[in-house]
C-alpha cells in the first residue's frame, strides 16, 4: 500500500523530519518497504503556458512556443504531437535534463534531451498523464485549470502538491487492521505513536431522507451491513475538463481517474478504507424488471455466471457473494461490478453502495477469479460495519457537490445485527506483566485514548471500549499489544527468564543424526547432500518404486515436484550420476532426511507416519556398502543381521540383503538392479544402504572398546583356511574365535585379510592374528599349541588350514 506523507501531515501535526517519521512508522506501526521522494521524481518539470501551437505540415506534430517563466525563457520552442495542444492552455513541461517520471526509479530512466523533430528543435516535451506517472491517459497532454494562480515556470511539485514523499508499506503485517487501509486510520496510528490525541476529521454528511429501502440479505454472516443511497444527477456528468488535485491524490495511491463518480468512491475508499460501488440506477431496474430497486445479497448458485466491468465473464462458485437486482446477479460483491449496471456518460441516476461482506467468502472469490483490486484487498481485512453508513453519507454529499445540480433522493441502511461495542476489562498489572514493563496507569490510559479507545479506570482495573473501527480487538492481549506497540516495543527493558538448574533432555534422533554425519563425513570420507522432498513420478518409476504409494501434491510447482518421496535412494542415485558426470567418480553420497509412503499409514494424530532415513549410495558392489555398514555397527555399538531381501524394485535381490536389528527389519543394503542403473545412466555397478533411523532408537547396547594392553610382546601369525565354497565366512571366524578364547590370559585380534576363490567347490580365507599374553612372553611351543586348537576347531567345521 502506498501512503503519502503529506496526506498524513494534513491530519496529524508532525514535528519530526520525514526520515524520523518513517523510522517511527517502521518500528511502531508497519514495515516500510520503500520511500519515494516525489521532489526528486518531478525535478525539472514545470507549469508552462502554451503561447502558440502550429501544425507542422505533413505530420501530426505541432510546433509550439511556450512561456516557461523568467528564468527558463518566455518563448521556448517545443514540438508536441498531442492533438489537444492549443494556444493559451496551461500544461506540464518536462525540461531538457529531466527524467521522464514514468521511468523514474526503473532500470532504464529516460532523460529528456534537446533534439530535432522534422528539422525543428524541440526543447523538452509537453507531458501526458501517463508520462508523468499521474494517470494512464495518453490521448493528450494534461491541461491544468486556467484558474491556477501559479505563474508559468513554477515547478510542478509546487503546483500539484508533489513536494511529497510516498512510502510503500507491507500489507501483510496489517492483515488484522482494516482501519489502517485508509489514510484517516493510518494517520490516527501516527498520532498514537507520536503520543498525540488524534483529532477525527469531520466528514461531510448529506441531508436527505432515510428510508427502509428494499434490501434482502440471505444470511447475516454474508453481509453485516448493507447501505445505499440513490442520487439523481439531473444531467449526465461530463468528464472533468482539467487535470487537478483529485488526479494527483489518486496517483499517489497508485490509482487513476476513471469518471467523476468513480473517482469520488475511490477517494473515499483511500481516505476511510471503506470501498464503495456505484450502479447505474436505471440499468439496475431494467435487469430486475422492477420499478423500485430490489436489492439482494446472497451466495451465487451454480451454474450462474456474470459479465464483469472489465468485460470478463466469470462462472460463479457457491462461495461467491453476489449483489442482485430482484434476484438477478448484477455484481460480484466486494470484488467487481457487473457490465450490465455499469455507470457511463449517459447515467442519470446512481445507486451508491457502501457495505461490508464476509471476508472468508471474499477470500475465496479473490482466489477463484484472481481479482486483486484495491477494494477487495480492503474487504478481505474485514471492514467494520460501523463505517458503512458515515462513508455513504459523505460520498453521497461529495457527488452532489461535484455535479452541482444533483440531488440525493434517499438512503437506506440494513444491519445484520445491532452494532455492539467491544469492551475489554483488564488491569494495568496484567499489561505490565506481559510486556515486562512498568508503565503508569496514566500513561497507559492516555496512550489508548490517543487512538480512539475509551478507558474507564477503577483502581487497578481498566474498562476499555474499543472504537467501532477496531474489529480486530477481542482479548486482553490485543489491548496490551496496543500499549506496547504505541509506546515502542524497543523501549521495553530486557530481562531473562529464570531457569531451573537442569540440563535439557537430548533428543535421541537428533543426536543419532549428528553421530552419523560425523562418522560418514569425517571418518568415511562421504559427502552429505540435501535433496528435495518432492520428486517426479518418473524418478520413482526409474527406481522401480510403486508410484501409487507416494503422496501426490495437487498444487505442485511442476511435474518434477509432484510426489512426496518414499525413500532417499532415487534422489541420491540421480545426484550420483550428475556428480559422476561432473568428474566426481569415486564418491560416496548420503542424505539424512524424512520420507513417507501411503502404506506406512497414519499415526495417532491422523497424519502420515514419517520415517527419518539414512540413505547412502556409492559406485561399487555389495561389499562397498557392507564396508559402511560394518563401520556403522562399530561406531553405534549395534549388531546388525543380514538376511535375504524380499523382491524389491530398486535393489538386486541376489546381491542385496535386508538389514535386521533385534528381529526388526531396519533397512536394506546391496547392489542396485542393473535395469535401474541403466535408467539412471550409471555406467558401473552402484550400491546403496538404507536405514530407518527411528527403528534404531532405544536399541543401543553398551559400546565397549576392546582395549586391554599387555606389557609383554605380541606375536603375529597369518592363517589361511580352505573351506567349501558355501561355508559362511562368519562360521569360520567364529571357530577361530572360539579356539582363541579357550586360552586364559590371551589377548588377540582377528583381522580378515583376503577371500580367494581358487576352484568351483572351495575357497581360501586368510586371517591375520595378533596374540599376546597378559602374564608372560609367549614361547613358540605355546603358540603352536594355540594354533593347534584353532586347527582342531576348524577341522570340526570341515575346514582345512593350509
Amino acid at each position: 500500500m502506498l501512503i503519502s506523507l503529506n496526506e498524513i501531515k494534513k491530519l496529524v501535526k508532525v514535528d519530526l523530519t520525514d526520515a524520523e517519521l518513517v523510522k517511527l512508522i517502521g518500528s511502531r506501526l508497519v514495515e516500510v518497504e520503500s520511500v519515494t521522494d516525489l521532489k526528486e521524481k518531478y525535478k525539472k518539470i514545470y507549469l508552462v503556458k502554451v503561447l502558440s501551437a502550429e501544425d507542422i505540415e505533413g505530420t501530426h506534430l505541432h510546433l509550439c512556443k511556450i512561456d516557461a517563466g523568467e528564468e527558463l525563457g518566455h518563448s521556448v520552442q517545443v514540438v508536441c504531437g498531442a492533438p489537444n495542444v492549443h494556444a493559451g492552455m496551461l500544461a506540464a513541461w518536462i525540461a531538457p535534463g529531466a527524467i521522464v517520471p514514468a521511468t523514474f526509479g526503473t532500470n532504464e530512466p529516460f532523460e529528456i534531451a534537446v533534439r530535432k523533430l522534422h528539422g525543428f528543435e524541440s526543447n523538452g516535451m509537453l507531458a501526458a498523464a501517463d508520462e508523468l506517472a499521474l494517470g494512464t491517459d495518453h490521448a493528450g497532454i494534461i491541461e491544468l485549470s486556467p484558474d491556477l494562480t501559479a505563474a508559468p515556470g513554477t515547478p510542478l511539485t509546487d503546483v500539484l502538491d508533489l513536494d511529497d514523499k510516498i512510502i510503500e508499506v507491507e500489507n501483510k503485517s496489517l492483515t488484522h487492521r482494516p482501519d489502517c487501509f485508509g489514510l484517516i486510520g493510518f494517520a490516527r496510528e501516527v498520532a498514537g505513536i507520536l503520543g498525540q490525541q488524534f483529532v477525527e476529521p469531520r466528514l461531510p454528511q448529506i441531508d436527505c431522507e432515510a428510508k427502509k429501502g428494499s434490501i434482502t440479505i440471505e444470511s447475516p454472516d454474508l453481509c453485516p451491513c448493507y447501505s445505499y443511497s440513490v442520487i439523481n444527477l439531473e444531467n449526465p456528468l461530463a468528464k472533468k475538463p482539467y487535470f487537478d488535485f483529485g488526479d494527483v491524490f489518486l496517483a499517489k495511491a497508485g490509482m487513476h481517474s476513471i469518471s467523476p463518480i468513480v473517482d469520488v468512491t475511490n477517494i473515499y475508499m483511500l481516505l476511510t478504507g471503506q470501498p464503495l460501488h456505484a450502479f447505474d440506477y436505471d440499468k439496475f431496474l431494467k435487469v430486475g424488471g422492477t420499478a423500485e430497486p430490489k436489492i439482494g445479497v446472497r451466495l451465487a448458485r451454480e451454474p450462474e455466471s456474470l459479465t464483469l466491468l472489465d468485460g470478463s465473464n466469470v462462472k460463479l462458485t457457491q462461495h461467491d457473494i453476489v449483489i442482485t437486482s430482484n434476484d438477478v446477479p448484477v455484481a460480484l460483491a466486494g470484488a467487481m461490478g457487473g457490465e450490465l449496471t455499469k455507470i457511463d456518460e449517459t447515467t442519470e441516476r446512481v445507486i451508491l453502495e457502501s457495505a461490508t461482506f464476509s471476508l472468508c467468502n471474499l477470500r475465496k472469490t479473490q482466489m477463484a477469479h484472481g481479482i486483486f483490486s484495491e477494494a477487495i484487498t480492503r474487504f478481505t481485512k474485514g471492514q467494520p460495519a460501523a463505517n458503512c453508513e458515515p462513508v455513504l453519507l459523505a460520498a453521497t454529499q461529495d457527488i452532489v457537490d461535484v455535479s452541482q445540480r444533483a440531488q440525493a433522493e434517499f438512503y437506506a441502511v440494513h444491519y445484520a445485527a445491532p452494532l455492539a461495542p467491544i469492551v475489554i476489562t483488564l488491569t494495568t498489572k496484567e499489561i505490565n506483566a506481559l510486556l515486562g514493563s512498568s508503565y503508569t496507569p496514566e500513561l497507559i490510559i492516555q496512550t489508548l485514548e490517543n487512538t480512539g479507545f475509551a478507558v474507564k479506570p477503577a483502581g487497578e482495573t481498566l474498562t476499555v471500549t474499543a472504537p467501532a473501527w477496531r474489529t480486530d480487538i477481542h482479548i486482553k492481549e490485543d489491548i496490551i499489544e496496543e500499549v506496547g506497540r504505541l509506546l515502542g516495543f524497543d523501549n521495553l527493558p530486557l530481562n531473562f527468564p529464570l531457569r531451573p538448574f537442569v540440563c535439557p533432555s537430548v533428543d535421541e534422533l537428533w543426536t543419532l543424526k549428528e553421530q552419523l554425519r560425523t562418522l560418514l563425513s569425517d571418518r568415511l570420507d562421504a559427502n552429505e547432500l540435501l535433496t528435495y522432498s518432492f520428486v517426479s513420478k518418473s524418478l520413482q518409476e526409474k527406481a522401480g518404486e510403486d508410484v501409487t504409494d507416494s503422496y501426490k501434491i495437487v498444487n505442485s510447482l511442476s511435474p518434477e515436484l509432484e510426489c512426496f518421496r518414499q525413500t532417499l535412494v532415487p534422489s541420491l542415485l540421480e545426484k550420483l550420476r550428475e556428480n559422476q558426470k561432473a568428474g566426481y567418480k569415486e564418491r560416496t553420497l548420503y542424505e539424512l532426511n524424512q520420507v513417507t509412503r501411503k502404506s506406512l499409514g497414519l499415526n495417532d494424530e491422523g497424519v502420515p507416519v514419517m520415517e527419518t532415513d539414512l540413505g547412502v549410495v556409492m559406485p561399487g558392489d555389495f561389499y562397498a556398502a557392507k564396508a559402511v555398514l560394518l563401520e556403522l555397527e562399530k561406531y553405534l555399538g549395534v549388531k546388525f543381521k543380514l538376511s535375504r531381501l524380499e523382491t524389491d524394485g530398486t535393489f538386486e535381490p541376489v546381491h542385496a540383503a535386508a538389514i535386521y536389528l533385534n528381529e526388526t527389519k531396519v533397512g536394506q543394503i546391496g547392489e542396485i538392479k542393473t535395469g535401474v542403473c541403466r535408467a539412471f545412466k550409471l555406467g558401473e555397478t552402484a550400491s546403496a544402504l538404507e536405514l530407518t533411523l527411528d527403528k534404531l532408537l532405544g536399541q543401543k547396547t553398551q559400546r565397549t572398546a576392546k582395549i586391554a594392553l599387555s606389557r609383554f610382546p605380541s606375536v603375529s601369525r597369518d592363517l589361511t583356511v580352505r573351506v567349501d565354497a558355501d561355508t559362511a565366512f562368519e562360521q569360520v571366524e567364529a571357530a577361530i574365535r572360539a579356539a582363541l578364547s579357550q586360552n586364559t590370559g590371551l589377548l588377540y585380534t582377528i583381522e580378515p585379510v583376503s577371500i580367494f576363490r581358487k576352484e568351483e567347490t572351495s575357497k581360501n580365507l586368510s586371517f591375520h592374528l595378533e596374540m599376546t599374553s597378559t602374564e608372560k612372553t609367549l614361547e613358540s611351543k605355546e603358540i603352536s599349541a594355540i594354533i593347534e586348537k584353532i586347527t582342531n576347531s576348524l577341522t570340526e567345521l570341515g575346514a582345512e588350514v593350509v
Binding site: S27, K172, S173, T175, H176, L359, C360, M367, A433, L434, G436, S437, I475, E477, I480, R485, F489, D490, L492, L494, N495, P497, L498, R499, V502, P504, V506, L509, K513, R517, S521, D522, D525, A526, N527, E528, L529, L530, T531, F534, Y551, K552, I553, V554, N555, L557, L561, E574, K575, E578, N579, A582, L592, Q594, T596, E605, V607, P608, M610, T612
Partner: protein, 315 residues
C-alpha cells in the same frame, strides 16, 4: 685456516691450560677453574653456531609458494563433507540447548490442524493465504512454517510446567512454500521455531532470549530493534531485527530481519491444554538458509538442494 678450525684449535689448547691448575695456590684454583670453564662454554657455543650455519648453507632452497615439493607426491586430504545447512542447524540447536531449550525436529508432512487450527487461524481466514501451502490429494500439508510443531511441543512438554516451571523447546525443520523459485526464493527451506512458556514469561524476556542467541551466534554484542507484525498465533506480534554483525561486514549500519516473534496467543495455549490465565508464553521462528547465505556470501539459495559437489565441497 678457517674460523672454525681456529676455534677448534683454541679449544684443544684450552685443555692444556687446565693442567696449570695444579701449580696454583689452592685459594686461587676455584676462580681459575671457573674462568676456564666459561671460556670453554663460549667456544663450544661459537663452534656449534658455525657448524649449524654450515649445515643450513648446504640445504637446497625451497619455493615457499609451491603447493608441494619437487619430485614428491602431492599431499591429499580426505574429501568428506557435511552439508552447510545441517551444520548450521547443529550450531543453532547447540546454542539453544546451552540456553536450556530442548531440541526436537519438525515433521515434513502435516495437516490443517497443526498448520492452521491449532495456531488460531480461523477457518477460511485470509491470513492462511500468506503461507502458500502445498497440499496432497488427501489434504495433508507439507508445512509452510515450523510453527506446525508448536502444538506438539506444548503438549509433549506440558508436564515440564509442573516439574520445572517452564516449557523451553526449539524445533528446527524443513518447510515448503508454493512460490516461484529464483536466486532468493526456494520452495524448500529450513526454519527454526522456538517456544517458551512459564508463569512470568514476558516480552522483555523474549527480546533478551533472541538477543542472547544472536550475540552468541555471531560472537559479539548486538543492537536489536523490532517492527510490529501480524501472526494469528502470537499477540502481540513482532518482527525481530539485529544490527549487521561485524562477521558479515557490518559497520554499525544496516539491519537484518531475523525472525517473526511474539507472545503466544492465549487460544494457542488453550488448544494445547495450558491455562492462559496462569501461564504466558513467547515464540519465534526464523529462516536458517539466510543465516548460511550471509555467513558464506552465497548468492543463490538454489545451491543448497542442488546436490552438486562443486558447491558442497567448499564446506
Amino acid at each position: 685456516m678457517s674460523k672454525l678450525e681456529e676455534l677448534k684449535l683454541e679449544l684443544k689448547n684450552l685443555g692444556r691450560e687446565y693442567a696449570k691448575i695444579k701449580t696454583l695456590d689452592p685459594a686461587e684454583r676455584k676462580a681459575f677453574g671457573e674462568k676456564l670453564n666459561a671460556k670453554k662454554q663460549g667456544l663450544l657455543a661459537e663452534i656449534k653456531a658455525l657448524e649449524d650455519a654450515a649445515f643450513s648453507e648446504d640445504l637446497p632452497a625451497l619455493d615457499f609458494s609451491a603447493p608441494f615439493g619437487e619430485n614428491a607426491p602431492k599431499f591429499t586430504y580426505k574429501k568428506g563433507t557435511k552439508h552447510p545447512l545441517t551444520t548450521e542447524l547443529s550450531i543453532v540447536g547447540e546454542i539453544y540447548r546451552n540456553m536450556g531449550f530442548n531440541v526436537i525436529e519438525a515433521r515434513q508432512l502435516d495437516d490443517e490442524f497443526h498448520m492452521f487450527e491449532s495456531l488460531n487461524f480461523p477457518e477460511g481466514h485470509p491470513a492462511r493465504d500468506g503461507y502458500d501451502t502445498f497440499r496432497t490429494e488427501e489434504g495433508f500439508i507439507p508445512p509452510a512454517h515450523t510453527s506446525t510443531m508448536q502444538y506438539r511441543a506444548l503438549t509433549r512438554f506440558r508436564g515440564n510446567l509442573e516439574e520445572k516451571g517452564q516449557i523451553a523447546v526449539v524445533v528446527p525443520g524443513r518447510v515448503f512454500r508454493n512460490e516461484d523459485v529464483d536466486a532468493t526464493h526456494e520452495h524448500t527451506f529450513y526454519q527454526c521455531e522456538g517456544v517458551f512458556v512459564s508463569r512470568s514469561a514476558n516480552m522483555g524476556q523474549l527480546l533478551s532470549v533472541l538477543k542472547t542467541f544472536f550475540e552468541t551466534y555471531y560472537g559479539q554484542k548486538l543492537n536489536i530493534k523490532t517492527q510490529p507484525g501480524y501472526f494469528p498465533f502470537t499477540e502481540p506480534s513482532l518482527e525481530f531485527q539485529i544490527e549487521k554483525p561485524a562477521a558479515l561486514g557490518g559497520k554499525g549500519d544496516g539491519w537484518l530481519e531475523m525472525c517473526g516473534c511474539g507472545m503466544v496467543h492465549p487460544n494457542v495455549l488453550k488448544t494445547a491444554g495450558i491455562d492462559p490465565e496462569v501461564y504466558k508464553g513467547f515464540a519465534w521462528g526464523g529462516g536458517i538458509d539466510r543465516l548460511v547465505m550471509l555467513k558464506y556470501g552465497i548468492n543463490d539459495v538454489r545451491y543448497f538442494e542442488s546436490g552438486k559437489l562443486d558447491f558442497l565441497k567448499e564446506f
